[in-house]
Symmetry: C2
Subunit: 209 residues, 2 copies
């Protein structure tokens, strides 16, 4: 297998943590988004969508999108399970993963990409350029605040976001909560359940990579 | 089990098709988005996120988000498989499902919700109001056009979007391609592979519901 990674971006970090939690060592190539390498002809020959992460499987297939990579690795390397064991757990993991993507990851990206000068005309990932829309930046901050409240409610009832076991949903939420610093949003000091959860995940070896 | 549905919206249609393709009959309650029932106290006691679809499992858990519902049903009722059998197929299904959600479903919603008067202050689903941003409406149309081109490329190589078998990814893409009519976007006449795929799925009993 071959893994295309980028050390500075949250999406590839999710896949990198998933791979590490599985105990896998996969040959890795670093693509520098800072240098625009994701838009190079060489990388677009790998992924025309110009996004990272990408996993080339042993069978030669090209998988993009975090959920595509996770589903493949979960099926090939079932232990430790990161996407649930029972039907209910499997449902809860993908439910909370979607909530974290849509209500935390998406608004952070909206705010960053529509406000920071380095994302001028790069408001959306991918090969096409899209102009920044400043109103999206403000909306994103409000939405991340709502997600922090939702997450605190959930983690007061549950050690991990999708239930009793650490899962893909924790990886997704952790990476985005951590990345919220780029839009100057941090876990509110009164959200003690979230802070405990965050500290526990930050201490895992997979979070150091 | 108990399924909360809405006949007019694309997200619950995805779950409805998935349930029908599994051959399941689940007790269903209709929530009228046209009448704002998703924001009622009664429905928010079921799903505080105020979104449809929702599945209440036999074990009493509340699953929201299409992927949460699909993963649960796939594990409990494995046949027919709708999320892949091999590791590669499982990866491809969730990869293409994510691409269809992000590159077709999201921009259609962006355009509709940021342009139509009936979505004033409802630019995003959920309990909080968000003002419309007219620039998003224009951007959404361009992005749906790019998705139609990507889909045609894919379907010239493959009978179904994620490979040789009909899957969740076809349901997601079909529902959103169909729903693109609300922003006056249709399959371009030269996209013959997409049209053949669309006609074949439209003929399935699950697409009639």
């Amino acid at each position: 297998m071959l893994f295309y990674d980028c050390a500075t971006a949250p999406s590839p970090r999710r896949a990198r943590m998933f791979i590490a939690e599985k105990g896998l060592e996969i040959e890795t190539r670093e693509i520098s988004i800072a240098n625009g390498e994701q838009l190079s002809d060489a990388f677009r020959a790998v992924n025309p969508g110009a996004t990272i992460p990408v996993l080339i499987t042993d069978e030669g297939a090209t998988l993009t999108e975090n959920l595509g990579i996770a589903a493949y690795l979960e099926a090939r390397f079932p232990e430790p399970a990161l996407m649930g064991r029972s039907a209910e757990e499997k449902g809860a993991v993908l439910m909370w993963n979607a909530i974290a993507e849509q209500q935390c990851g998406a608004p952070i990206a909206e705010t960053l990409r529509n406000s920071h000068p380095s994302f001028k005309d790069r408001a959306i990932t991918g090969p096409a350029n899209h102009a920044q829309i400043p109103e999206l930046a403000q909306r994103g901050v409000a939405r991340v605040g709502a997600f922090f409240a939702l997450l605190e409610d959930r983690l007061r009832d549950s050690d991990f976001i999708a239930g009793k076991a650490f899962s893909l949903a924790d990886i997704t939420a952790f990476v985005f909560v951590d990345f919220a610093r780029v839009i100057k949003q941090r876990i509110p000091s009164e959200n003690t359940a979230t802070q405990s959860w965050y500290d526990a995940i930050r201490a895992r070896p997979s979070a150091q990579l």
